[in-house]
Each structure stands twice: as structure tokens, then as C-alpha cells.
Amino acid sequence: MAELLVAETLGKIYGTGDAATHALTGVSFVVAEGEFASIVGQSGSGKSTLLNLIGLLDTPSAGRVVLGGTDTSALRRKGRAQLRNEALGFVFQFHYLLPEFSVWENLTMPAQIAGQRVTGEDRTRVMEMLSLLGLEGLERKNANQLSGGQKQRVAIGRALMNRPRLILADEPTGNLDTTNTEAVYELFRRINRELGTTFLIVTHDRAVAQQTDRILEVRDGELVQDVRNDYGPPVR
């Protein structure tokens, strides 16, 4: 499979001089198109920092990120914003929906940011997305009127709307109960299988990581393990 993401000796240092903290050091790995992978590590290990660098939300102190063949180190803020919009989908621990807007508007926001008109095809896609997410009939509801699980599913839908090549999920079920957690991962899997979307999921939960095809483990800012999953029994 083609390389989608290349992380090359990524490093991140916060602060300077004696106060400098090395959050990430020399992390390198490659993710191919269609992979369903996870990044695991304890709290404070640097896994979210890694995700933020890959997601072009933060800039590395060392190394570079190549996304879909584009060397992002050469991009300025505008170019990084455009690439985030076109190639990436984000799902965070908090849903980060826009409470002033309806479910429909939240779902079409990435397309609107890209300056696209909402076409008939988009409408069909939103309806399909709502169906896929189990949110039929809620499109006109305000984001604030949904339950926690529903909000997170809308956030997943928003991440998928622009047909991104890579979905980055940072503790996407951190605020959900067990039932909703399982539903979300089943959804991720289904999207990966049916749409071929690549997933990189950050989690501190090894049980969650065990459901992915590849596990990258970060400890004290370094990548200490990168293994294919043998689908052993959950560690929970």
C-alpha cells in the first residue's frame, strides 16, 4: 500500500534553556493508506503531542511530517490550514461541536470552510452519514440538544465529511460510557473497511488499542514499540 504519512525523527521541545522540556524525541514511523492503527502510552508520555504534530496543529522542534507526499515543514499557516481541511479529519476527546449550529451545519462546516457550495450530492452524503452514524432525523437539531454519545458521533461525521485520507482520533471515547465506546469503535472499523479511510487513534487504553491492526507505543517521548496486532485477548 502507498505511504500516506511519514513521521521523520520528530521532536518537540517546550520552553528554552533550563526550563526546556523534551516532550518528544526522534519519533519516526510510516503509515500506509487504509491502515487502522493506534498510538498508546501513559498520560504525559507524548502521544497527544505526536498526534498534534501529525495533525499539523503544532509544529515540530525537529524532524518533519510528510502527508500524502507533501512535506508540511515547508508550509505556512495558511497552507497547513488548507491541508488540515482537505486531508485530515479530527476526532477529539471533547466533541468540539459548534453549539450555535445545527447537526446539519456542523456536518457541512468543513465543506463550507473549503468554500464549497452545499450541493445535492453533499445533501445525499450528509443523509448517508447520518444513517451511518445512527443519527437519522436529528439533522435539524441544535448540537446542544444531543446526548454525549450523539455529539461524539456528529463529531466523527464532521471529521469524515470532506472524505479525508487520514482520521486522527485523540482519546475519542474518553468521555463516553462502555456502550457508546464500543459503538464508536465499531463505527471507526466500519468506515475503515467500507470507505478505506486511514485511522490513527491515540489512547491510553490498551483494550482499545488491541482492537486496531497496529500499535505504536510512546513512552517518555520516544517510540518504544511499533507492532502488528496479533489480536490477543484484551488486556482490560
Binding site: S48, N52, G55, L57, D58, R77, K78, A81, Q82, R84, N85, E86, F90, F92, Q93, F94, Y96, L98, P99, E100, F101, M109, P110, Q112, I113, A114, G115, R158, D170
Partner: protein, 382 residues
Amino acid sequence: MLSFKIAARFLRSSPAQSALIIAGISVGIATQVFVGSLITSLQADLIDSTVGSSPHVTLLPAEGDTSVSGSLADEAVAAAPTDSSGDSLVSVAVPVRTLSAIYADGEDSVPLSITGGEAEGLDAIYGLAEKLTDGTYGLGEAQVIVGTGFAEDYGVSAGDTLPLLLPSGQTGEFEVSGVFDLGAAAANDRLAFIDSASSAEALDMADDQYSAIQMQLTDVFASTDVANELAKSLGVVATDWQTENEELLSGLAAQSASSTMIQVFVLVAVALGIASTLAISAVQKTRQIGILKAIGMRDAAAGRIFLWQAALLGAGGTLGGIGLGYLLIWGFSFAPVPFSVSPEPAFIAISGIIGMSVALASSIIPARSTSRLDPIEVIQGG
């Protein structure tokens, strides 16, 4: 237009906050519109009562001469400075003869300041025809028009005969053809107008000899410049109302300055109100802006959200303020004052433009801080 849509939605999501700031801007703009219109109308009224019924520039004989020629009126129109479209600033130039006369009624006697000339010319300078309270306007031979103050003091009305002791030493009998009210007590008490022939006879002047050329200008505030120019080019003595009313003009200037100060402080208050509201809104919406940026919104588009918010608040407040300003002006029409406040469309348009500009300027700081916001600050903040 996404920035506009988000701005409108942000404002709608905090209706009380939006309504309060729009009300604040409205009050500010209404104050600006009302105070500005009030001062403008008050000054226009003062200037009109000062120079509306009197000459703006008067040409007098050069030193050594006792009279001017009637043709000097046409020469003055031709020699006067012109406005931007090339028209002479002198709108009317009328040759007149001025004299003093004494009215004696039994034991009472009172001096009158008399201006003699053609009825049409005098009307052009003093607006007598529309200011008559008694009689009909016209100046036939041996006719006089007197003021209301004089007419009331001495029981004179149209049709009466008035004996006047003239400079020639003779007493002339004049028929009162009308009584005027120029709106100023001094003029109504002491001013009178007689026909041209009688004035020539009283001063022993030939038909083409006059005491002065009285003029009105299209721009009353050009009187000093016009007087100086005509004195130089025509070799005569020229007086103007601005030089003769310096105290009034400095009073008007002080009034304008204080009015401008009030308006500036009101606008500063409006600007601070909008800026503080937008700053609060920028903080309140940091999370939303951060996520919008995370999913690809560019810095400039994010900054425009607050420019649009300011534009919407400014437009709402300005329109509301102009409406409220008109309401105040209408309410003022019932106040017991001797002048009316009339809204000046140009001034109100300028107030509206200033209101919008202030609103947009107030959004610069929140727009810039929003534009610079890094999405990672929000994502890491949780």
C-alpha cells in the same frame, strides 16, 4: 460568506448581549445626530437672524468721495470671487441711499435709520415682502415701510401718513405702505425704507448717485474675503458682516467646538462599548474559533468573523440611532423654543458613516487576536 454566517450566529446566540450593545450604539449615534442637528439648526437660526435680513457686504464710497455709481453693483458681481462652479459669490447687489431722519409726533421724536432704493432690490436684500405684517409690499413715490416696534410704539399702521424730518432740513410727508417684522427688535424699532426717488431728493443726489452698494452672498461666510477682494479690485471701501460681528462668530465657533467635543466623547464611548463587547465575545468564542481553525479555517477568515460582528452591531446600532435621533428631533419640535431643529441628511449620513467606521475600528483588536489564535491552545486546553 461563512465568516458572516458565523458572526450572525454568534450574535444571535447571545441575544441579550447583542441587544444591549446595539442599544448602546443607538443611544450614542442618536446623541450624535440630535446634538449635531440641534447645534447646526441653532447656529443657522442665529446666523439667519443676524444676516438673513441684512447685507452681507456693503461697498461704500472711497475716501474723499461722497457717493458711488449705480453701475458699481454690476461691476461688483463681475469682480467678486467665484465658487467651485464658476458662479459669482455675490448673488444680489443693490445700490441704495442711506440717511437718517427724525420722526416727530407731538412731544415724542425718534431717529430713524432709512434706506432708500428700488422695492425689488430692497426685498432681495432684506426679504421685506414676506416679512410684512401689515399693508402690501411696494414703494411708490413718498412711501415708507416701517418696523413693527416703531409701528406699535407710535400707533402707526398701513395707510397712515408719517412726517419725517430729512437731512435736507425739510419735512417730508410719507405714506406708510407696510409694516415689517425682521425678527430683531433694533431693526423693527429704528429701521425704515423709502423709495429711491425720495431718498435721492432727501440727500440731494443725482439719479446715478448712491450711498452704498449692498450685497448678499451665496456663502455668508465668504463675506470677509469678498469684501477684501472687492475693496482691492474696485478701489472702494468694503465692510462685511463677519468683521462687524466678530463676537457672535467667536461665540458660534466656541459652540461648535463644544458640540464637536461632546460628539467625539460620545463616539469614544461607543467605540469602547463595541470593543469591550467584541473582546468578551472573542474570549467566549475562543473554543469555537479554535475548532474552526483546527478543521481548516484560515486566520484571515477567523478574524473576519469579528469584523462582521462589528459591522452587524454597527449597522444595527447606527440605523437604530438615526431612527432614535429623528424621534428626538421630532420630540424637540414640541419644545417651547423660538427655532426648530431640522435633520440634515448629509450630517446624518456622515454620522452613520462615522458610526460604522468606529464599529469596524473597534473590532481590530479582537479580530487580530482571533486571527492569531493557535488551534492547539484550544485543543490542549480541553
